[in-house]
């Protein structure tokens, strides 16, 4: 493995008594599209803020392309960040904001407008270049956020919740946009939409309470260890201990009231499924759907339950 695009070693961040990051260590290789997943409060945004130089780490080291990053120093155009709660200069036009950012990364003269045109075209906002930011919809703002992050061709792109609050059409467009960046730049995307991330990410870093639970290729995450069968039910299952006794030592997890996950590990999925189905029928719980497919969601739950 060559020099990683991002390497984090023993990163710790405390906000008074709250420890947001605790000995966080992981690497992201060059050129991958990495899913950065974790529950609310797991430390995803804090990690991005420390990498971006907005927050000072309490301890630990960050390396971008093998070069250590000083606390609170500017990323010098090497890192593009789409913040979670991004807001722009509302009265300024899309073009004027991008021109300012481009000039700050040292682009000037004839290439200045070429660069702005390039990033606007990459995110499909060319026709909005003279519009003020306040006139943009949520989806367009995300695109503008990605455009500003792409200015100056950064080596690393951090996208914090780019899919949040988007309608299905815009979400698909933003997903497509991120997919287009694959291989051209290392992208780290944080999101709660694990199903979506699974479709376009080839690497995953899962964190919980400021610790890294897993970092590695997506196939490894999905294929590692135990696997799940997912049951979508018409009613909430009760007496789960009874089911667990029947399939022992395998655990059954209720993710929400009507979604049941059963880990089958090295057992035959068919045998486990048979036991679970018979129990559900006995309990007269309607079965809407049975899915025997590994998902990122299941993998993440597995990391957490471990």
């Amino acid at each position: 493995m060559g020099t990683p695009a991002l390497e984090i070693k023993g990163l710790e961040k405390k906000f008074r008594r709250l420890r947001a990051l605790a000995d966080l260590t992981f690497q992201v290789p060059q050129g991958v599209t990495c899913a950065f997943v974790g529950a609310n409060g797991a430390g995803k945004t804090t990690t991005f803020s420390v990498i971006g130089g907005f927050l000072r780490p309490t301890k630990g080291e960050i390396f971008i392309q093998g070069v250590p990053v000083k606390p609170l120093s500017q990323a010098e155009g090497r890192v593009g960040v789409l913040p979670q709660d991004m807001r722009f200069f509302e009265e300024r036009t899309v073009e004027s904001q991008l021109v300012l950012f481009a000039r700050l990364v040292g682009i000037s003269g004839g290439t200045l407008h070429e660069e702005v045109t390039r990033v606007l075209s990459a995110v499909g906002l060319s026709e909005k270049r003279t519009e003020p930011a306040r006139a943009l919809s949520r989806g367009m703002r995300v695109r503008l956020g990605i455009a500003q992050a792409l200015i100056g061709s950064p080596e690393l792109l951090l996208l914090d919740e780019p899919l949040a609050g988007l309608d299905p059409v815009v979400r698909a467009q933003v997903k497509e946009l991120i997919q287009e960046l694959h291989g051209k730049v290392t992208v780290i995307v944080s999101s709660h939409e694990l199903g979506e991330l699974q479709t376009f990410c080839d690497y995953i870093v899962a964190i919980d309470r400021g610790h890294c639970l897993f970092s590695g290729p997506m196939e490894e995450a999905l294929g590692a260890g135990d696997q799940f069968i997912t049951y979508h039910l018409g009613a909430a299952p009760r007496d789960l201990q009874e089911l667990e006794a029947r399939i022992s030592p395998l655990p059954a997890i209720v993710e929400n009231e009507t979604k049941l996950l059963v880990q089958f590990g090295t057992e035959s999925p068919g045998r486990v499924n048979e036991k679970v189905l018979s129990w559900l029928l006995e309990k007269k719980i309607p079965i809407l759907q049975v899915i025997h497919q590994r998902s990122l969601e299941e993998a993440y739950l597995k990391f957490v339950t471990k």
């Binding site: 971006g52 130089g53 907005f54 927050l55 000072r56 609170l72 120093s73 500017q74 990323a75 010098e76 155009g77 890192v79 593009g80 960040v81 913040p83 709660d85 991004m86 807001r87 722009f88 200069f89 509302e90 009265e91 300024r92 300012l100 950012f101 000039r103 700050l104 990364v105 040292g106 500003q148 100056g152």
Partner: protein
Amino acid sequence: MNTLIHIWILGVDEFTQLFFRRRAIIALALYAFVVCFVVYGFHRADHTVNAYLTEQGMPEMKGDEVLKKMGDLSQLPWAKTILNWPLTFPLFQFLAIFWMTELIAIMSCDIVSGDRERGTLRFLFLRTSRSAFYAGRFLAHLLLYVILHVLSLALLTVVTVWSSEKLTYGDCITPLLAYSWALIPLIILSLCMTLFASSISSSIVGSLLKLHLLWIPVFFVILYDLHPMMSWRTLTGIVVPLDQFATANILGNVAIALTFFLLGFLIFRRSEV
């Protein structure tokens, strides 16, 4: 070199953007309206400073008597000139210095806190250092003060000279430069306040509060407390032009300005956003 370029880009960009904000347009329009109103109403006024003060505060004394009572002042040629100035001049001084300062403060008080509240500070910090950002914003602040003050004071000088045959440009320019110099600590204090204000509204309130805390006592003394000796000394020290005023304040101003600037810089460069 890179830092200097960043300072220039950020300073000039912010300076030009300040004029596109709604409150800046309203503030400048209001200022222009009041100036026109005062020019229209007072340009033919025959009242002198002496006549006004005699009517308002010291009916028992005439101009020369006041100067003699104040000792050395009666020997100074400029003191007699002041008494003979038309009332227009102090009125315009008030507008050009006090009010303009206030308008500029309203325009620029959120020069950093605005970015913090909007969230755009993060976009800028990805591409420039905190030091360059701080210095760039200071440059914008300074450019705004200097350019608007120069315009305002030029207007004041032209109107004053135009409305009184007794005054020359030379009479006006020196004191005005002294006043402008006196504003430097205010400019830097404004920048310091906007560095640490958490929102745009708190910046505006803080800025207005600061100006009033600093200026109101002065004008209170001038306008309402015209007790013979004290008020004349106050008047000669603050409203009436004095070369000495500028000289005496140079070192103090430099010290205060440097202290505020360094304090702001040292705290800001370590701050999280």
